[in-house]
Amino acid sequence: MSVGHKVLPFAGVALLLVAWDIAIRVGRAPLLPGPLAVGRAIAELAQKGFLVKHVVASLFRVTWGYLLAVAVGVPFGILLAWYRRGGLALAPLVEIVRPISALAWIPLAILWFGVGDLSAVFIIFIASVLPLTVAAMSAVGGVSAVHWNAGRNFGLSTAEIARRVLLPAILPRLLVGLRLALGIAWLVVVAAEMIAVNSGLGFLIIDARNAGNRYDLVVAGMVLIGTIGLCLDAAMRGVERLPALRWGYAGAAAETA
């Protein structure tokens, strides 16, 4: 790889920062901060100890909501794909519930779980559970018929086929789905934290504006969300690349980005 090639990603980000800076200086929106102002805002948060507090709070909610969604959505999706009739019956209903934005669930969340963390976790759960279901269904659908038949040929019981053929075979594609759903969960944290919680990056964004038009903090929150989202995505891609799983990399993980 030439030096130029390696430098390009950083050049892209640098270009973005420069363009942003210029746009702010030249533009007519005095409230919006430039990159330097945002940098200072992040430093301010770190200094006051809020940086860690908000990041941890958001990560905490996302973790709970996401893990619950995995525990419910993945088995559900596998069952829907395994039992053809069940899939036919329920898949259309899943397709109706899926387009309903996480935000639209807020009134019901507040009704059922009151105001606070539980509602926020529920919103994250609702946003991720159906994408996970669909990802699991798609992964099961992608198992080669030859592998099913080989499992049956060797006299395996249904439970054994599930354990020794189905689960290993769906793993690469499922991981891609897990990664994408994690992205969704993280994206939704902003919506979830609109429910009167008082910590977290989403809360920061909303509160900073409401409490005093601190747009530098608003954008700082956005930058932090973007960066952490990038890291989460990179971490999941790392898992996909583990040697034990790399066999599926060529096939399944052609679904990049």
Partner: protein
């Protein structure tokens, strides 16, 4: 001269009667038409026909993966209702499980054996197919021919009485194919299994089989069964080989010059 008694005829292993298969998709497609066939124990039978004629369908029915529209398949006088670990299907190399090593694949059907016995068998079959040194490799690290060997070893490891092979060498280059045919015959003579082998390659069928079942185009029925009375190892330039081969060419209606 003392009359030498004829060897007792080998008993029938696979009995196919009146087999018919019609696929109902958008419109009805009749794939197999009234097939009758007997396969003797220990025999190597090739099912030969052009692509799409239904020979793979036939094999899948005999192996129990598909139910025929009419007719029966009996193995050892027992009717076939589904796949069975005593009769293993060798798919093309894509049947190998990519998440298991060579060892893992070959040992796949051996779960109920005690550990020592399992390991012994795996080692034996690794040796039989010539993959020593690759026990811990994953299929993605192997060539097509090697993956095919893994699949054959996996099938043999459970000591089946019948092997079904569906164009197993189709994805390999022609040199590897010749080598693999030799290997397959060697293994067959050592293990004495009944083998049903589907192919579209006339030469391959004459090189391998005791009998070649020549199928017509769809809806398929048996055109002719050719006895290959060549001794092993087969001389591919002998007159008898060429005679048998040309006979089948003519049967299918193919010219000798292109």
């Amino acid at each position: 001269m003392i009359p030498v008694p004829e060897p007792a005829p080998r008993r029938t292993k696979v009995e196919i009667r009146g087999l018919q298969m019609t696929f109902r998709a958008e419109n009805e497609v009749r794939v197999l038409e009234n097939m009758d066939l007997d396969v003797r124990e220990g025999e190597f039978v090739c099912i030969l026909g052009p692509s799409g004629c239904g020979k793979s369908t036939l094999l899948n029915i005999v192996a129990g993966f598909l139910a025929p529209t009419a007719g029966t398949v009996k193995i050892d006088s027992e009717e076939v209702h589904g796949p069975d670990a005593r009769r293993i299907f060798v798919f093309q190399e894509r049947g190998v499980f990519p998440w298991l090593t060579v060892e893992g694949n070959i040992g796949f059907g051996l779960g109920c054996l005690p550990r020592a016995e399992r390991e012994r068998r795996i080692a034996h079959y690794v040796g039989l197919v010539g993959l020593q040194g690759f026990e811990k490799a994953y299929p993605q690290e192997l060539s097509g021919g090697m993956k095919q060997r893994v699949e054959v070893a996996r099938a043999l490891a459970v000591d089946p009485d019948v092997l079904y092979l569906d164009e197993p060498f189709g994805a390999l280059d022609s040199i590897t194919r010749l080598v693999m045919r030799g290997e397959l015959l060697r293994i067959w003579r050592a293990e004495q299994k009944t083998i049903l082998f589907v192919t579209h390659d006339i030469e391959e069928s004459v090189q391998l089989a005791d009998r070649v079942v020549v199928m017509s185009a769809r809806p398929a029925h048996i055109r002719r069964i050719v006895e290959i009375d060549l001794p092993h190892p087969r001389d591919l330039s002998s007159r008898r080989y060429l005679e048998l081969r040309d006979g089948i060419f003519e049967e299918i209606g193919l010219a000798h010059r292109i």
